[in-house]
C-alpha cells in the first residue's frame, strides 16, 4: 500500500503545486494575450520585445526564488 503523508503535509504540497501551476499558467496567458494585443497596441517589434522581456523576467524571478529558498543551494555535484 502506498505510504500516506500526514494530511497537512499533503495539503501544503498541493498548495505549493497549485501556486506553481498558476504562475506558469500566467506566463502562458501573457504570451497568448500579449501576442494578440500587440497587434493592436503599436509597433510589431515593441510587441515582440515586450513578450521577450516578459519571459526572461519570469524566468529570473522564478529561478531566483527557487535558489534563494533552497537550503542546500551551496552543494554542488
Amino acid at each position: 500500500m502506498p505510504v500516506s503523508k500526514p494530511d497537512d503535509q499533503r495539503n501544503a504540497q498541493r498548495g505549493a503545486n497549485l501556486r506553481t501551476a498558476l504562475i506558469l499558467l500566467s506566463i502562458a496567458a501573457v504570451f497568448f494575450g500579449g501576442i494578440i494585443a500587440s497587434q493592436y497596441t503599436g509597433g510589431n517589434a515593441v510587441g515582440i520585445g515586450v513578450l521577450g522581456f516578459a519571459i526572461i523576467g519570469f524566468l529570473l524571478v522564478t529561478i531566483g526564488r527557487k535558489l534563494r529558498g533552497d537550503p542546500s543551494k551551496t552543494e554542488r555535484r
Binding site: M1, V3, A28, F31, I48, K66, L67, D70, R77
Partner: protein, 530 residues
C-alpha cells in the same frame, strides 16, 4: 511495455492491483505516469509511421521528374501534413513520453504533480491527430501551404485549414498542460537532498524545454487564432487588403517556430547526456556548464527567429542582428558537443545499441549544426532559402538528431520499462541500417539545394533526377529499418530475456535502484539522496 499495476517489487506477476481498472479502461482512466508515458510513446510511434508513409509517398512522386502518382495539390497536402504529423504527432509526444516515464523516477517522486491533468494531456492528442488526418477527406482536402501555414495562402484555404487550426489548438493545450505538470513536478516534488544541481541532465533539459513550451505554444495558439478570425470573422491581421501584414504572420509564427525546434532537440540532448556517461563509465564532463549551455540555448532561441525570413525584405540591420544571434547560439551548442566528447575521452567504452545511437547523434547532429551555420550567413541563405539545402539541414538535426536520440533512449530504458532485454544483434543492425539509409536519403539533398532545387515542389527539372533517385531509394530503406525497430521492440516484449534492475554497469541514476520492470508505484517513500 508498461509495468504491471502491482505495488510490490515483482517483475513477472500478472496480478492486478485491486484498485486499478483493467483492460481498456485502465488505459483510458490511468493517472499513472508510467502508463501515460507508455501511451505517449506508442502514440508517437504510430504517428511516426503515419508521417513516414506520407514521406514515402512524397519520395515516390519525386523519384522521377513529371507527375506520376499524385496531383500537385495533393502533393502539397502531403508535405504539409508530413511536417505537422512528424513535429506535433511524433517527435513532441515521444519527448513527453520519455519525460513521463523518467522524470518522476529520476527525481525520486512518486508521480507527476497533477496526475489527472497528465491523463487529459495525453488523451487530447489522439483526438487532435484524428482531426488532422481526417482533413484529407473533406472537400478541398488537407491544408496545403506547408506546415508553417503562411498567410495569405492559409487565409484563403478550404475547410482542411480550419481542421488543422483546431488540431493545433488542441495539441497546444496538451503541451501547455503537460509543461505545467513537468515544471511543477521538478520544482516541487524532488526527493530530499536532490538539489537542482544534482538532478540528472535529462531532467534539466526537460525543465528548460517545459519553460520554452509554456512561452511559445500560446504564441502559436494566438497566431492560428488570428488566422481563424481572418478567415471567418472579418479581421485583417494578415490580410494586406484590410490593412494587415502577411509578413507579420511569419514574424509571429517563427517567434514560436524557432524555440519549437529547440523544444524538439533539448530532450534529445538530455537523453544523449544520460547514455554517454553510462557507456563511457565516466561522469558527464562539465555538468554545470551543460546546464548553463542548455539554458543559454533556450534564452537565445527567442532572439533568432527571423533567420527563417532573410528573404522577406528586412532591413540590412535586422538581417545582421539575426545573423549574429544565430551564429552566437552555436557557441553553447558547441560547448555541449565538446563536453560529450570529453565525457567519452579516456572512458572505458562499450558500444551497445544505445551508445551507437548516441555517438551517431553527436556526429550527424553536428553535421546538421554546421549546415545551420551555413544558412545563418544572410547572403548565403538568400541563395539557399527554400531549397533542398534547408530540407537536408533540418532532417539532419531532427531525424539524425532527435529521432536517433529517442531510439537510443528506447533501447536504453526498455529493460527498465518492460523487464525484458532487446536483441542486441538486431539492435545494432537497426542502428547501422538507419545510419546508412538516413545518409543515403538526406546527404544528396545538400547537393540538390546547392544546385538550386526548390523545396515543396511536386516536379523538378531533369538535371535534378539522379540525386532524387538516390534519396528515394534511401528513404525506402530507412522506412524498412523502422519496421525492423518495431519487430525488435515487439520481440523483446514477448520473448526478451529478463532484465536485471541495472542492466548497464555504468548507470547511476535513481531509476536503476528499482526493480525491472519498474513497479507500478515507485518512490512512494522518497529516497534519501546524498
Amino acid at each position: 511495455m508498461s509495468s504491471i499495476p502491482h505495488d510490490h517489487a515483482a517483475g513477472h506477476g500478472h496480478d492486478e492491483h485491486a484498485h486499478h481498472p483493467s483492460g481498456i479502461m485502465r488505459w483510458i482512466t490511468t493517472t499513472n505516469h508510467k502508463d501515460i508515458g507508455t501511451l505517449y510513446l506508442w502514440f508517437s510511434f504510430i504517428m511516426f509511421l503515419a508521417g513516414g508513409t506520407l514521406a514515402l509517398t512524397i519520395r515516390s512522386e519525386l523519384f522521377h521528374p513529371g507527375m506520376q502518382l499524385v496531383d500537385p495539390e495533393f502533393f502539397n497536402s502531403l508535405t504539409t501534413l508530413h511536417g505537422l504529423i512528424m513535429i506535433f504527432g511524433a517527435i513532441m509526444p515521444a519527448a513527453v513520453g520519455f519525460a513521463n516515464w523518467q522524470v518522476p523516477m529520476m527525481i525520486g517522486a512518486p508521480d507527476m504533480a497533477f496526475a489527472r491533468l497528465n491523463n487529459w494531456s495525453f488523451w487530447l492528442l489522439p483526438f487532435a491527430a484524428a482531426l488532422l488526418i481526417s482533413s484529407f477527406f473533406v472537400p478541398g482536402g488537407a491544408a496545403a501551404g506547408g506546415w508553417t501555414l503562411y498567410a495569405p495562402l492559409s487565409v484563403q484555404a478550404g475547410m482542411g485549414m480550419d481542421m488543422t487550426i483546431f488540431a493545433i489548438h488542441i495539441m497546444g493545450a496538451s503541451s501547455i498542460m503537460g509543461s505545467i505538470n513537468i515544471i511543477t513536478t521538478i520544482l516541487n516534488l524532488r526527493a530530499p537532498g536532490m538539489t537542482l544541481m544534482k538532478m540528472p541532465l535529462f531532467v534539466w533539459t526537460w525543465l528548460i524545454t517545459a519553460y520554452l513550451l509554456i512561452a511559445v505554444m500560446p504564441v502559436l495558439a494566438g497566431t492560428v487564432t488570428m488566422l481563424l478570425t481572418d478567415r471567418h470573422f472579418g479581421t485583417s491581421f494578415f490580410n494586406a487588403a484590410g490593412g494587415g501584414d502577411p509578413v507579420m504572420f511569419q514574424h509571429i509564427f517563427w517567434f514560436f517556430g524557432h524555440p519549437e525546434v529547440y523544444i524538439m532537440i533539448l530532450p534529445a540532448f538530455g537523453i544523449v547526456s544520460t547514455i554517454l556517461p553510462t557507456f563511457s563509465r565516466k561522469p558527464l564532463f562539465g555538468y554545470a556548464s551543460m546546464v548553463y549551455a542548455t539554458a543559454s540555448i533556450a534564452i537565445l532561441s527567442f532572439l533568432v527567429w527571423a533567420h527563417h525570413m532573410f528573404t522577406v525584405g528586412m532591413p540590412a540591420a535586422g538581417q545582421l542582428f539575426f545573423m549574429y544571434m544565430t551564429m552566437l547560439i552555436a557557441v553553447p551548442t558547441g560547448v555541449k558537443v565538446f563536453n560529450w566528447l570529453a565525457t567519452m575521452w579516456k572512458g572505458s567504452m562499450t558500444f551497445e545499441t544505445p551508445m551507437l545511437f548516441a555517438i551517431g547523434f553527436i556526429f550527424l547532429f553536428t553535421m546538421g549544426g554546421f549546415t545551420g551555420l551555413v544558412l545563418a550567413i544572410t547572403p548565403v541563405d538568400i541563395q539557399l532559402q527554400d531549397t533542398y539545402y534547408v530540407v537536408a539541414h533540418f532532417h539532419y538535426v531532427l531525424v539524425a538528431g532527435s529521432l536517433f536520440a529517442f531510439f537510443g533512449g528506447i533501447y536504453y530504458w526498455l529493460p527498465k520499462w518492460s523487464g525484458k532485454m532487446y536483441d542486441e544483434k538486431l539492435g545494432k543492425i537497426h542502428f547501422w541500417a538507419s545510419m546508412i539509409t538516413f545518409n543515403v536519403t538526406f546527404f544528396p539533398m545538400h547537393f540538390l539545394g546547392l544546385a538550386g532545387m526548390p523545396r515543396r515542389v511536386a516536379d523538378y527539372p531533369a538535371q535534378f533526377t539522379d540525386w532524387n533517385e538516390v534519396a528515394t531509394i534511401g528513404a525506402f530503406g530507412f522506412g524498412l529499418s523502422q519496421i525492423l525497430f518495431l519487430y525488435i521492440v515487439l520481440k523483446a516484449l514477448r520473448f526478451g530475456a529478463p532484465a536485471p534492475a541495472r542492466p548497464w554497469e555504468g548507470a547511476d541514476t535513481l531509476e536503476w535502484t528499482v526493480p525491472s520492470p519498474a513497479p507500478y508505484h515507485t518512490f512512494e517513500t522518497p529516497p534519501a539522496v546524498s
